[in-house]
């Protein structure tokens, strides 16, 4: 609410005050934060009532609109949350803010579909998937991604079909993509798309493809001629799935676009592209709510392998700006080797952690992506002014470490004046910077010494459990 109030006051002064950017920054401060402050006063009030939650519901509404959730969906949602919240007891263990957030989160997850939708690849072969959507939504890229996904995860033999005969070089784009993936592409040049699609299916049958992905031209939902063409194509080959591809950054327009595409084609799944951007992706919610069709895939980058199944619960957190711990853990799992984690644990316990290990750790963290993006995934940290974080800091540290000899990294004590000068020159930094890195390391080591000592006292179990890498945990559970 704080942010909202400041914004409102500021907005009318907007012309006198050029510092308008500040208001945006404040406006985008996280919902949970503002809920906390509005609901703090509720503690000990017994139950949540219409009066005492009105302010927080306004916050929810604003956050939703700012996340591009459609206006009607927002209104319905806020009403639903209100209904659920009313009469609930204010628990002592959690703050009322958290309580409301939980209700919201549950409600969101429910709308988003709760569980991951897996595509049932049954039915008559070949299995058909038709990609549809607006221009620039990412249909062609998604067609390639899904083909690759189905080949590697479902052992399918896909055929890509170039049925975008309108956009210049769209066919070539799919051909290049197909070639790089080793997936054949069916095309007939700039022919009639309905015919191309029909012939492609026959080609797939004749050539033993058990999956056909039809890439169609982007079109506006109000273009009746082109929409009719899609209907004809659908009727001609009866694909098992029709995927509506939407740009995750789409605004209020999502409703009008998705509604019409759904009316005409009854698409069966939604693919959200460009989810690796910084959009909150509220459109996902609107599309699901309005059409009832679940989001199946999300696009997470420009590379063909950057595709993932859609996880409704994580999306709920993203829309709310609550961070995404699950994704963070998965990211960590994908880059941290189990053996490395064990080695590290041992080194910390025995206090033999040296600069070689430090460098290794640094590189592992770097593999996970930008520090800024990682921090954003952590609840609470996502409201830090992350724009100020200088990603280069780590580059300097790495440069300094890389300019040391392995011997120096093993025995940092030998690094004296002339060595420091050499390292500074070698890393393109200064002696101060080298000193800084060494100091950081010393204090880190002192901290580890404490941990190690404690762990030994407790027969090593405390640290052991703390440092168990995620992968190992999973194994234990099995």
């Amino acid at each position: 609410m704080k942010g909202a109030l400041i914004f409102r006051r500021g907005a009318s002064n907007y012309h006198k005050n050029k510092n308008f950017l500040l208001y945006y920054t404040i406006m985008f401060s996280q919902l949970t934060d503002s809920l906390e402050s509005t609901l703090k006063k509720l503690r000990g009030q017994g139950t949540l009532s219409e009066d005492n939650i009105a302010e927080s519901l306004r916050e929810v509404r604003r956050a939703f609109l700012e996340a591009d959730v459609s206006f009607n969906v927002t209104r319905d949602f806020v009403n639903a949350v209100k209904e659920k919240a009313l009469g609930e007891e204010v628990l002592l263990s959690v703050s009322p803010g958290q309580q409301i957030v939980k209700i919201i989160n549950d409600e969101l997850t429910e709308i988003m579909g709760g569980t991951v939708k897996e595509i049932e690849l049954g039915g008559a072969s070949p299995f058909g998937i038709m990609m549809v959507g607006l221009q620039g939504a990412g249909k062609t890229t998604f067609a390639g991604k899904i083909a690759l996904y189905m080949r590697s995860k479902k052992k399918k033999k896909p055929l890509l079909v170039a049925a975008d005969v309108y956009r210049p070089a769209a066919i070539k784009q799919l051909q290049v993509l197909g070639k790089s993936l080793g997936i054949p592409v069916y095309e007939e040049g700039q022919g009639n798309p309905v015919e191309i699609i029909k012939n492609a299916k026959q080609y797939a049958i004749d050539n033993g493809h058990d999956l056909v992905i039809y890439d169609t031209a982007g079109r506006l939902q109000i273009d009746d001629t082109l929409m009719l063409e899609l209907e004809q194509a659908r009727d001609a080959v009866k694909p098992h799935e029709i995927f509506f591809v939407a740009d995750a950054m789409i605004g209020q327009e999502a409703v009008s676009v998705a509604e019409t595409f759904y009316q005409k084609l009854q698409f069966t799944g939604v693919c959200l592209s460009k989810m690796d951007g910084d959009t909150r992706g509220g459109a996902a919610l609107s599309i699901k709510k309005i059409t009832g069709v679940p989001v199946v895939f999300v696009g997470l980058g420009e590379k063909p392998s950057e595709i993932d199944l859609f996880h409704p619960d994580r999306m709920a957190s993203r829309i709310l700006g609550m961070g995404d711990v699950v994704s963070l853990v998965e990211k960590a799992q994908s880059v941290i080797e189990e053996k490395d984690a064990k080695d590290l644990k041992k080194k910390i316990l025995n206090n033999t952690f040296d600069l070689n290990d430090f460098l290794k750790q640094l590189r592992t963290i770097k593999k996970m992506g930008r520090i800024k993006d990682l921090l954003k995934l952590i609840p609470g940290l996502n409201k830090l002014p992350l724009d100020q974080f200088d990603e280069k800091e780590l580059v300097y540290v790495e440069a300094v470490l890389s300019s040391m000899t392995p011997k120096e990294r093993k025995h940092p004590k030998i690094i004296e004046g002339s060595r420091k000068k050499r390292i500074a020159a070698g890393s393109g930094t200064t002696v101060q910077r080298v000193n800084q890195v060494l100091t950081q390391f010393t204090s880190m080591k002192a901290m580890f010494k404490g941990i190690g000592g404690m762990a030994k006292k407790n027969s090593g179990s405390t640290v052991g459990s703390n440092y168990t890498p995620p992968k190992q945990k999973r194994k234990k559970r099995r």
Partner: protein, 305 residues
């Protein structure tokens, strides 16, 4: 063809339903907080953009809260606020020879199509136009641009796919100078603004072409998909931090989108909206005109009663 008539076609579908409701709200007596909130919601629904909606209703709150106003008065307050928010771009002067324009934006915004249309437009004005195929990343982006260059009657400088885009831009500058081109349009690969390495790549392109002349590029235009919601703000802000943008191009406004979210960001960062894309045809790119845009936003309400 006028800008207004072009966007009106698409707009009319959502506009009439929206503004009928709008009339009902305003015409119901005194302006209360509730009226303002409802108005706000309707503006948001019309994709005027969340901020713009708040700014417009805030103006109304300041001047009209508690008063009984007619439709016309209410609309005229919001109109004048919208007029203050927006400004017409300064006249485009292609006085440098070559005048180097860098076109940037996120993936799928419509950069390549926009370049094709711009080339055709400048060509029609009698300019000698050269295009640099700087999107060396996306499959067949170069082929796509080649088609557009041919349609526009412009020359094209290209390298292989996956080559260094900065090198393409550098060569294109040399070619533009040697051939005496009036305008050089440099295409770039789409990139999300939160990808540091891709932003660095773009910065490198700028650094490299500045070796020809420190004044290059004379213009940097950001292409924004008119369907984009609040992310418009983040896109414009972040790109602007790295590159001083001299103009915005809003595409795909021939549908039901109004590109309202561009309204507030254009004004707060003082970057003029230069062009509007209104269709897939080569001539469907028109200069932005403030009066007509506002007209399109409020037209139905004004013509009422």
């Amino acid at each position: 063809m006028g800008f207004l008539s072009l966007i009106k076609g698409g707009l009319s579908k959502t506009r009439s339903a929206l503004l009928n409701e709008f009339k009902g709200i305003v015409g119901a007596g005194k302006i209360t907080d509730e009226t303002l909130e409802t108005l706000e919601e309707h503006l948001i629904k019309a994709d005027v953009g969340v901020e713009a909606a708040f700014i417009l209703t805030d103006a109304l709150r300041e001047e009209a809260l508690g008063k009984s106003l007619t439709n016309e008065e209410v609309i005229s307050i919001m109109r004048s606020e919208a007029e203050r928010l927006l400004s017409n771009p300064p006249p485009l002067e292609l006085k440098n020879s070559p005048h180097v324009i860098l076109i940037i934006g996120v993936n799928g915004a419509g950069k390549t199509t926009t370049i094709g249309k711009l080339a055709a437009r400048f060509k029609k004005e009698g300019k000698k136009v050269l295009i640099a195929a700087g999107d060396t990343f996306r499959a067949a982006a170069i082929d796509q641009l080649e088609v557009w260059a041919e349609r526009a009657g412009a020359e094209l400088v290209k390298h292989q796919e996956a080559s260094d885009p900065a090198a393409v831009a550098y060569d294109a500058c040399a070619a533009a100078k040697a051939r005496g081109s009036d305008v050089l349009l440099i295409d770039t690969a789409g990139r999300l603004h939160n990808k540091d390495h891709l932003m660095e790549e773009l910065k490198k392109m700028v650094r490299v072409i500045q070796k020809h002349d420190p004044s290059y590029p004379h213009d940097i235009w950001l292409v924004i998909d008119g369907n984009t919601g609040q992310n418009t703000i983040s896109q414009t802000k972040v790109f602007h931090q790295s590159f001083p943008l001299t103009g915005l191009v809003v595409t795909k406004l021939d549908g039901t989108a109004r590109g309202g979210s561009v309204l507030s960001i254009s004004s707060s960062l003082q970057i003029p909206i230069r062009w509007i894309g209104v269709g897939e045809q080569i001539d469907q790119l028109v200069p932005f005109e403030k009066e007509e845009y506002i007209e399109a936003l409020f037209e139905d309400a004004l013509s009422s009663d």
